[in-house]
Amino acid sequence: MNDPSASTSAEADFGAVAVLPLGEMRVGQAGVIVEVTAQAPGGDQNLSAEELHQRLLEFGFVEGAHVAVLHEGAIRRDPIAVKLDDMRVGVRRRDARGVTVLLDKPRP
């Protein structure tokens, strides 16, 4: 169940708000997914970009879903635990680069 206040505030300030790949977001940042692309998986991954794309979609990383980064790992801040709508999901940063997020305006 989307947090309606959060998504409207993001839409209201469209021009001023930053867009970031989920893979680069920090703990405490939140926003709405605006694009999920078939980005070539990093380095030497043997999985095709399309396959990763499809899996992200099936897991619920779709346009319009609300995400918030809750926790990050100790080593290189990886992996990250994100709240994806009502679910909590652990994901590696490199796999989350194809997910673009329109950040909410930070709460005052």
């Binding site: 078939a38 043997n46 779709v62 290189r76 801040r77 635990a81």
Partner: protein, 617 residues
């Protein structure tokens, strides 16, 4: 009248709990995704008199399977297995508090063209949270009946059965469907539709779960979280020693009393020797370790039911990834603490073939519970029981060290495999972190009881017959008249041990240890029982002394340590080899495993023995 019913749904939605409630089975239920990796079948007769063959399946997010466990689900649902049609009725099991992904799955399942009923499971939690679902509206729009269930409390079962009954009666007339793997655009479209359904028919919870967030703030904290993980493991191994003590003393005393009873009641002779030295001391020496195994399982079960496993996997991901292991390898490896066999099987959740094979090959390095008797015996014989730094039990510390050695060597071996043999290739890692649940004491008790049954059956079916064999080999042939030295030297076991011992002399093993390794191949803990029998036959007078105190007099300290080092790696478990053969579908990998583990065992024991010996042990 029979109908085939399949339970499908997202992972961790309670399919197996529902399966158990329906069929009275005792399949494993736990609070993480990927518990079930095989199809399981059970039957039940509905109130309408129809026999249902119920199929429990691994959870999945899509029929477009990507790992071996999900393929099982896909093939069962689509009726692609040889000699099997697709099920007459599908029961889609949903976590009522987490509907988004399952709604999309339902849209996909509808294309299969089988009659379906949606079980809104965990309805107790939904109600507690004040989540309101317009069941009738949703059912109307989805075009399938909905029942609310609480699988763990067996609520809603009758209603579910009557719905299945109705659908089964009409299933022959259902139009055949044609499922094709959805492409990205179709998945997006289905998500949008699922979102619309959610908005229309589900009111957000009035009292959402805040516990999970608050607990995660501590348990997933980058520093604190890791510290807690290690503290937990540490406590677990300390507890294995300290908590189990009284119960162990009790079991030990009962077996000694039983031996005394037999000694008093029976005339001296072969039969008495068989009963006391073979049966009672052999089986008793293994059963004594049951309390320790139960303490270990108690910890694992509580962590599993609480929902900690996925968190532990999250915390360890980077460390395991550094060693070239797949993120999902954590749970198979952790299950291997209980026994490598379920661990190796749960590697099916890993999609990439090489990642899966790497996990399978290193899983037996994790210290399984069958090693507990061996470790515990040698530790109590050679490591004094005293406090270290005022608070830790030295024996517990050594036990922890042995477990750590197993874990580190698993990481090292997988690193070698990945760096030397299969470079590159890292698969994506997406894992649901389930909401925490307070473990259900009844479930934990049931599972512990199941462990007791497994252990005792093993003692009866494997250990007891082997002990008879060991006793026979230790007793016959008897010594020639007038022979010097102990009688056992002339027995088959004695001859075999003396013949093979030179091979193991460099690692400090005497002939009794050598003999014990052989039946240990059937099951590791039998080595302990065999030592019990070998020493009991050799020296029936020493009966009052415990095996541990006997060993501490007979073996050098260095030899004791070498024996421990050997068992960190020892590949001796016939059933593990058989399971690797089955899971990899070739003899190649079990042989590779046997070879590399034996080599490591020998090497480790050699280094330990020679070092300890040189230092005067």
């Amino acid at each position: 009248m029979t109908a085939r019913v399949a339970l499908v749904g997202n992972p961790n939605s309670g399919k197996t709990a529902l399966f158990n409630a329906l069929t009275g089975s005792r399949q494993k239920v736990a609070n993480y995704a990927g518990v079930t990796v095989e199809r399981k079948e059970g039957t039940i007769v509905t109130p309408g008199g129809r026999t249902l063959a119920v199929l429990d399946l691994p959870g999945t997010y899509s029929l477009r399977a990507r790992s071996p466990d999900e393929e099982v689900t896909r093939d069962a649902v689509l009726g692609r297995l040889a000699g099997e049609d697709s099920p007459d009725v599908l029961v889609c099991v949903a976590d009522a508090t987490n509907l988004r992904l399952v709604l999309r799955l339902i849209l996909e399942l509808k294309a299969v063209g089988r009659p379906m009923v949606l079980a809104l499971n965990m309805y107790d939690i939904a109600q507690r949270q004040g989540l309101r679902i317009d069941v009738d509206g949703l059912a109307g729009e989805l075009g399938c009946p909905i029942v609310t269930t609480v699988a763990t409390r067996r609520r809603g079962i009758d209603e579910l059965l009557s719905k299945v009954d109705e659908l089964a009666a009409r299933s022959r007339f259902a139009p055949a469907g044609g499922w094709t793997p959805p492409d990205a655009a179709q998945v997006r479209l289905a998500h949008r539709e699922a979102q619309r359904l959610l908005k229309t028919y589900v009111k957000p919870p009035e009292r959402p779960d805040t516990l999970t967030g608050r607990v995660d703030a501590v348990l997933l904290h980058p520093v604190l979280g890791l510290a807690i993980l290690f503290a937990l493991l540490f406590t677990m191994f300390q507890a294995v020693f300290t908590w189990a003590g009284p119960a162990q003393d009790l079991i030990e005393a009962s077996f000694t009393a039983l031996g005394e009873l037999a000694r008093a009641a029976l005339p001296a002779g072969l039969f008495r020797s068989f009963l006391i030295d073979g049966a009672i001391s052999g089986v008793g020496s293994v059963l004594v370790f049951l309390p320790q195994i139960l303490v270990l399982f108690l910890f694992i079960l509580l962590l599993e039911d609480f929902g900690y496993m996925a968190r532990a996997a999250f915390l360890m991901d980077r460390i395991m990834g550094g060693a070239g292991l797949h993120g999902r390898a954590f749970i198979p490896l952790l299950s291997s603490f209980a026994c490598a066999i379920p661990g190796i099987m749960s590697a099916r959740v890993i999609d990439n073939k090489r990642d899966r094979l790497t996990t399978i090959l290193v899983a037996p390095l994790m210290t399984c519970s069958a090693r507990i008797p061996v470790y515990a015996l040698i530790i109590s014989a050679f490591i004094p029981e005293r406090a270290v730094w005022g608070m830790f039990n030295l024996q517990g510390l050594v036990m922890f060290g042995l477990y750590a050695a197993g874990i580190l060597s698993a990481l090292a071996v997988s690193l070698v495999i990945r760096k030397v043999f299969w470079r590159g290739a890292v698969d994506p890692f997406l894992m649901e972190l389930p909401a925490y649940k307070i473990p259900d004491p009844a479930n934990v008790a049931r599972n512990l009881l199941q462990r007791v049954m497994i252990f005792v059956t093993r003692a009866g079916r494997i250990i007891f017959p082997l002990m008879i064999a060991v006793w026979l080999l230790c007793t016959f042939p008897g010594p020639p008249p007038g022979a010097a030295g102990p009688a056992i030297d002339y027995s088959f076991a004695g001859m075999l041990g003396h013949a093979l011992q030179p091979l193991l002399a460099p690692i400090g093993f005497n002939w009794q240890m050598t003999v014990a390794l052989i039946p240990g191949f059937a099951a590791r803990e039998v080595a302990v029982a065999a030592l019990g029998t070998v020493y009991a036959v050799a020296d029936p007078g020493a009966d009052g002394a415990t095996l541990a105190s006997l060993l501490s007099r007979q073996w050098s300290f260095a030899a004791g340590l070498a024996f421990l080092a050997w068992y960190i790696f020892a590949p001796q478990c016939a059933s593990t080899i058989a399971v690797v053969r089955r899971e990899t579908n070739s003899w190649r990998w079990p042989i590779v495993m046997l070879a590399y583990m034996t080599a490591l065992a020998y090497l480790a024991a050699f280094i330990v023995y020679q070092t300890a010996h040189a230092l005067g042990g």
